[in-house]
Symmetry: C2
Subunit: 238 residues, 2 copies
């Protein structure tokens, strides 16, 4: 099966200010451009499986992907939510230790792994930016550990909504109530993200609704009349 892949010019790239290439000079972009190709992935499709060989690393240009790990009996935990500009893959290693799945339709800006490893040695701006992104990801992971280990179901849901708002809304928009967010993932995926069951997610969402903290429009849209009230429910620290 031939994969449909193609190349695109960087100048109109929507993630050029945040992705791993954000700090690059034009000549550096030119070098990256030579090992790059775009790759669409349909919602629901597997991008890579744990332990599997992957011969590229990539930036997410558009769409949402999830990183997850499972126990043999099927219990699954999402260990990362990958949004546009985020980086997928591990340079210098052929395999990854988690599954990567397209949650929505996805556009990846892929770099062949071996030449990318070489570029990492040669282009300081790529390496610098990647290191910074890893530190940010590590901080987010630590916040998530606090959530998974110590927060109640209600706090988990509230934290999740706060995260969704922060990642999809400009800071200044937060002052214009009500805030609206479109949830990018299903109840089931939220449950896997928060270390809960789908039933608990559903119950806590309706509980927050009954308490007037949020209101729901359809299954995917959440309206938040008072963002501070929601943050208070989240136990702070995100």
């Amino acid at each position: 099966m031939k994969e449909s892949t193609f190349k695109v010019d960087c100048s109109y790239c929507p993630i050029k200010h945040r992705a791993v290439c954000a700090r690059c000079e034009p000549d550096e972009l030119e070098i990256l451009n030579e090992i790059k190709y775009y790759k669409p992935v349909a919602a629901g499709e597997t991008v890579a499986l744990s332990g599997e060989r992957v011969d590229y690393v990539a930036s997410v240009v558009s769409g949402v992907a999830s990183l997850s790990k499972s126990l043999e009996d099927g219990r699954t935990q999402m260990v990362g939510l990958v949004l546009p500009s985020d980086f997928i893959g591990r340079p210098g290693r052929e395999t990854i230790a988690h599954d990567v799945t397209a949650v929505t339709d996805l556009t990846l800006c892929c770099f062949h792994r071996k030449p990318f490893d070489k570029i990492l040695e040669e282009l300081p701006h790529v390496r610098e930016r990647l290191l910074e992104m890893m530190f940010d990801e590590m901080d987010a992971a630590r916040d998530w550990m606090l959530l998974l280990g110590r927060k109640t179901a209600r706090e988990k849901i509230a934290s999740f909504l706060v995260l969704m708002v922060n990642r999809s809304t400009l800071p200044k928009e937060l002052f214009i109530a009500p805030v609206r967010v479109d949830l990018p993932i299903s109840r089931d995926a939220i449950a896997n993200f928060l270390g809960l069951t789908i039933e608990t997610v559903s119950r806590q969402l309706t509980a927050l609704r009954k308490d007037g903290i949020i209101s729901l429009e359809g299954n995917r849209e959440v309206i938040i009349p008072d963002f501070q009230a929601l943050k208070d429910e989240a136990g702070l620290s995100d």
Copy 2:
């Protein structure tokens, strides 16, 4: 209060093969050496607090430290266990987002932060190694998220013991049963690490003992007659 700090020659450094400086050439070590100082920290002391300014980054030469985050009401989650050769701090940023505490007496090999940031730009081997260490830490964090979100108390305890064995025992020694481990942290710290209470930790340890998976000698030493049996209890994947 004057801090007691001092400098030490790198050639006998016990962590020189794994720390952030592991890939350095002699001339690079020389440069690092100029901004470095040793710093002892007593068990129980705080190394740094969340949000606080820290003017150094450091490698742990000996001892164990913990990274933790708390909610306002006191619930605490350990988000990292820092062992010898591990790196503490965030280059390029003045503050960190978690508390760092000395679990045992600690020896830190500190680098003044600002010159270290500069060195990171200039010495590719440091940057390279740091990036690799961050990826490893990220993988470990993801394993931990799976544990926190989806494992039972018994699996958590077993996973913790497996981790302790893997970090303190050479692979080939695992074939010589029984394996012995010294737990570096108290029950209370284990509870904070695993997202449990101290009582549950205690109960699960005695349950594993009664089932013949482990035996306990004093409060800190664990003997594992059959390491594979313990791994089976851990739900695999560590």
